[in-house]
Symmetry: C2
Subunit: 465 residues, 2 copies
Amino acid sequence: MLADLAFTLESLRAAYARGITPEAVVEEAFRRLDALADPGIFLYEARHAALGEARALGTPDGRPLWGIPYAVKDNIDVALMPTTAACPDFIHVAEADAGAVARLRAAGAICLGKTNLDQFATGLVGVRTPYPVPRNAIDPALVPGGSSSGSAVAVARGLVAFALGTDTAGSGRVPAALNDIVGLKPTLGALSSTGMVPACRTLDTISIFAPSVAEAWELFELTAGYDPADPWSRPLPRRRLSPLPPAFEVVAPDAASLRTFGDTAQAAYFEETLERVAALGGQVRRVDFAPFYAVADMLYAGPWVAERLAAVGERFFDAPETLHPVTRAILAGGVKKSAVDAFRGLYRLQELRRRCAGVLGAASLVCVPTMPCFVTLAEIAADPIGPNARLGTYTNFVNLLDLCGIAVPTGPRGDGRPGSLTVLARAGEDARAAALARAIERGGTAEREESEGPGPDEIALAVCG
Amino acid sequence: MLADLAFTLESLRAAYARGITPEAVVEEAFRRLDALADPGIFLYEARHAALGEARALGTPDGRPLWGIPYAVKDNIDVALMPTTAACPDFIHVAEADAGAVARLRAAGAICLGKTNLDQFATGLVGVRTPYPVPRNAIDPALVPGGSSSGSAVAVARGLVAFALGTDTAGSGRVPAALNDIVGLKPTLGALSSTGMVPACRTLDTISIFAPSVAEAWELFELTAGYDPADPWSRPLPRRRLSPLPPAFEVVAPDAASLRTFGDTAQAAYFEETLERVAALGGQVRRVDFAPFYAVADMLYAGPWVAERLAAVGERFFDAPETLHPVTRAILAGGVKKSAVDAFRGLYRLQELRRRCAGVLGAASLVCVPTMPCFVTLAEIAADPIGPNARLGTYTNFVNLLDLCGIAVPTGPRGDGRPGSLTVLARAGEDARAAALARAIERGGTAEREESEGPGPDEIALAVCG
């Protein structure tokens, strides 16, 4: 029976109500992991610690995540577990929980271990790791997506109820699309970033992978909050997930500027998806997406690659052999950038921010495909840079523009591959993005009637307009 | 009679009501300038254009600055006038008004010309110019202060009713203190910065010099406003200048951390000034000012000097002989800074911002001496860097912390030299700072009763607390 238990918040809570123990759930999780025989998912399996925590939980105590198993990307500290950022030489045992992990622990969740990633969170493919590459949960010929590869696969495989990732350039969204799950990329500063290994310190956030929007949102609410110990934390209004308003304006790339790199199924599916957005009340305004692409291009062509170099530090110069060769090649782009380049990049970004704001106008949401196309292991083996860059088409600009977003499975495309839409909103408006994502999730009929009126745990604090 | 006319808004308006013509006022202004025989104040005298504008004004038309003569720092464009930024080789004739100048022109003000400055607005002394140095209006042995030297002296000498400066590190406050006038340094982004030659693009603002706080505030209200053409413009709430609230919390450096570089009169006078702040209802909390000094130190020791290099551009490398030698030496500090240095500087600033916010707590205002001490021409001749750096003690940190402020004459110190207090407030709270500055201005008795209740042109929209 446990073998059939879906690791969703709802079914786990029901199981616990029936008397199942957290210890049994943790054992089942590791049984599934062993059965999967994918050594690339976890870089550290915390079997012993997790079982100990499960036993220590005793009986249900009302905490919202009591006994819920989850995984943590290995660039986020969990006390007494090693952190490697997928660089074996970087290994150190964390003395304390990251701020976000501490909140989850306080809520009763059990961390099963640390998951694989593109080294130092630089990549969107999941193969830039010296460890075995996690297998894509949908199609073993595809890359697993990255950089939060192991976290996304762990959720997609049902090994955990949710997982923490990080997202600087799309690391919390692209792997969600590639493994057909939800990836919630919070507003920068909404979640504490203490205990997180930085990629681009000004653009990093911890992110959440879950099977559904409702679960991702619940976990976001439990994890978010101002942290005075984190200089990047921002005081943001707390919003509840509300039903979609009767009408709302959405911006989306027009057909001429949509980039799918020859993936005609993706282009056709995006049009279908926008029709569904319109059926949900969305007034979809198609725009030339050039300013957003211009921002996206700056992430690696501009000075921000120097942030990645700053994060890796002297290792790049003193112990380059400890770095993945592709990672090293990318970081090298930061060496020659001057402080003048850095400030000029900030000036250009400021101009582009203003242009993008003009394109958005009064629209509260932006809809994009999470990825322009799929990428196979063979493609990335043949060219380790190009296909990776393509995957960032609809994600690279998001943190530079201080938007929040959520990648949501919208049902299979015409060719059976999973479809994923990313809904973006302005900083602090995570709930607006989640509301549309929930309505369009998993190709459900998404009748507007179904989402009218607040549910039992919803309060209509935020009404989009 | 015109020779006795004070060039204040009030007296000029009264004169115009009596039938005096703008042409006569402009002629009087240039008569005063000629009589002063200080060729360092203006880099470009717009006699012909100003007289033409004055004639074209016709009869009073109700515009708020109808016929009011003013001056513009020569790093701000005025259409059809040359802009040099005190670098003769940089000279070019502006095709259009800077955004702030356009507003003043629309309000009826007449620009008399472009004023001297520390080259490319790099300096707080006013002597880093290849042109003659303007004479300090109080004591010819003192530096005029910079970088907005000519604008401050022009106002202090009564040549114009007000002047535009710029303020990155204190260029709109230090010369105000050195010439015993008011210097209003707006919130970053409150005034359009189109048509301004940048110094540090992320930290620059146009500033206002005027004889009194009331005038500076009126000019701020007329000049401020969101400008969609300026990527650095910010939509800010419009606040009116209100009376001081009955009680308000003020932070000030404690005696142990106050820096006056041996100027005991300045230290004693600051204590007296704080007693007056307390008498006005200020609950003065003395704090260790170390975090603010740490921010101030970053402006030239950190990566921001590279912004100055970025602003000067290829000239530094291709035509270094066109730069003032001291300016060139300072810009050289930016050459070796890397993009990694730049981002690390931003990270450190973010941490220090959080620390400073913690020191401020619930206080709405900060009071500091505008300068720690006076600087003489002899001192700066002996050491062109050190005394300049000292002048930035209480100004360098302000824009890095996104504060606004106003330097206000508070009456003579014990030794007869002018005393100046700078009142700082959070971004957007310019009106709070101005309210205290007005109450303590010019050593008036500053009876709290006098400022109770809104005056005829005041609306109590913003109440400090």
